[in-house]
């Protein structure tokens, strides 16, 4: 029995009727490997179950906030106006919000939201595989969030070494915790930095930037900074949220074509792409989606 998954199921059921059904659905859709991986994550991040119920509540609140904003987005057609500084104050530098709601919610979404899981599968098959095969498996992760994608690289390629950047001290704290939980900390360095304002001097052969562009007033500026961080012949994994309002989403990408234009304008060449919607539309309303690109 997967004790931690069962505990998560109970916590979700307590906080949200029917939310627990997502575990059954995901297991049916993605198989035992999904369930085993979720069990491993929960066991490492919440040993003895400590904090798991809190994380489940955080996830439930994270989802509810998103749905409230989605309702308004369907009506208004635009994200609620917010500057980067406002989002940073409200979210990234808000300890309680980040550690109790935002980061746990984001972490669990990688497994409980099918489109996020599918993006992860694409990442493993098309990016991690190349890093693992490389004779120079160094990477930089810009906007580490929970540290999830850094950890997937470090855990999936034992020779990998990485550096993670984020502007939030709480993201760095959470990412360090996740790396330590997966015994990857000695190969991972974290820096609190804005890579646009303070470009790193070192280039790397592999670069990730996941769930960042939509948080910015000027995504092209970030893409140019990422281009400068990528070593010649290197490869980057960059994602963008489409039609996905959130408390800190500023730039509205309506379609993947706009992401492509921004990426190309920064000097990248598209190698592979992946798009997945969060759910089936019932009418003409926009549906949140993820767009993931592998670029060189």
């Amino acid at each position: 029995m997967r004790a931690h998954v069962e505990r998560l199921r109970a916590a979700l059921r307590a906080g949200f009727p029917f939310r627990a059904e997502h575990i059954e659905r995901a297991t049916a859709a993605f198989g035992e490997a999904w369930a085993s991986e979720l069990e491993d994550l929960l066991a490492r991040m919440f040993p003895a179950g400590d904090g798991l119920e809190q994380a489940a509540r955080g996830y439930c609140d994270f989802v509810l906030d998103g749905m409230r904003l989605m309702k308004r987005f369907e009506r208004d057609g635009v994200y609620a106006a917010k500057s980067y500084d406002e989002a940073a104050h409200e979210v990234y530098h808000n300890r309680a919000y980040m550690l109790d709601l935002y980061l746990p919610g984001n972490l669990l979404s990688h497994y409980l939201w099918p489109h996020h899981w599918r993006q992860l599968v694409f990442f493993r098959n098309s990016f991690l595989a190349d890093l693992r095969a490389s004779d120079d498996p160094r990477f930089a992760d810009v906007g580490v969030g929970t540290g999830f994608y850094s950890r997937i690289l470090l855990d999936g390629a034992r020779a990998a070494r990485g550096r993670g950047y984020d502007v939030s001290e709480f993201s760095l704290e959470y990412a360090a915790r996740q790396a330590a939980a997966f015994d990857c900390a000695e190969r991972y360095e974290l820096r609190r930095a804005d890579v646009i304002a303070a470009p790193p001097s070192e280039t790397v052969p592999f670069l990730t930037c996941v769930e960042v562009l939509e948080h910015l007033e000027d995504p092209p500026a970030m893409l140019r900074a990422l281009r400068a961080m990528l070593a010649p012949g290197g490869k980057a994994f960059i994602t963008a949220a489409l039609n996905a309002p959130n408390v800190d989403h500023i730039y509205l990408y309506r379609d993947v074509e706009e992401v492509h234009r921004h990426v190309r304008a920064a000097g990248f060449r598209l190698e592979q792409g992946f798009v997945a919607a969060a759910y089936r539309p019932r009418g003409d309303e926009p549906v949140p989606a993820v767009a993931a690109l592998i670029v060189t």
């Binding site: 949200f16 009727p17 029917f18 509810l64 749905m67 019932r282």
Partner: protein, 84 residues
């Protein structure tokens, strides 16, 4: 803010893509095939928008019948015209 029975039933019907008249006070998830987690959250945010209220996580967890939802709306100061 006042909401009549017919308005609430209409909202339920839209969210669950069902006949609005099928929603009585005793109706719960077990009676509606489309009452799943996604539509439950859709119901919550639709009610919040319509009634101008904000439900807590605990309240959302307790919304397991139309009667309970009507009671919560009244607790939030909404004048619900739905006879027992």
């Amino acid at each position: 803010m006042q909401l009549r029975r017919e308005e609430i039933q209409q909202l339920f019907g839209e969210v669950f893509e069902a006949d609005p008249h099928a929603f009585a006070l005793a109706t719960g998830p077990e009676d509606v095939a489309t009452w799943d987690s996604f539509n439950h959250l859709n119901l919550v945010v639709s009610l919040e928008e319509r009634a101008g209220v904000s439900f807590s996580t605990d309240e959302i967890a307790s919304m397991l019948s139309v009667a309970k939802i009507v009671a919560l709306l009244r607790e939030h100061g909404v004048d619900v015209d739905w006879p027992e």
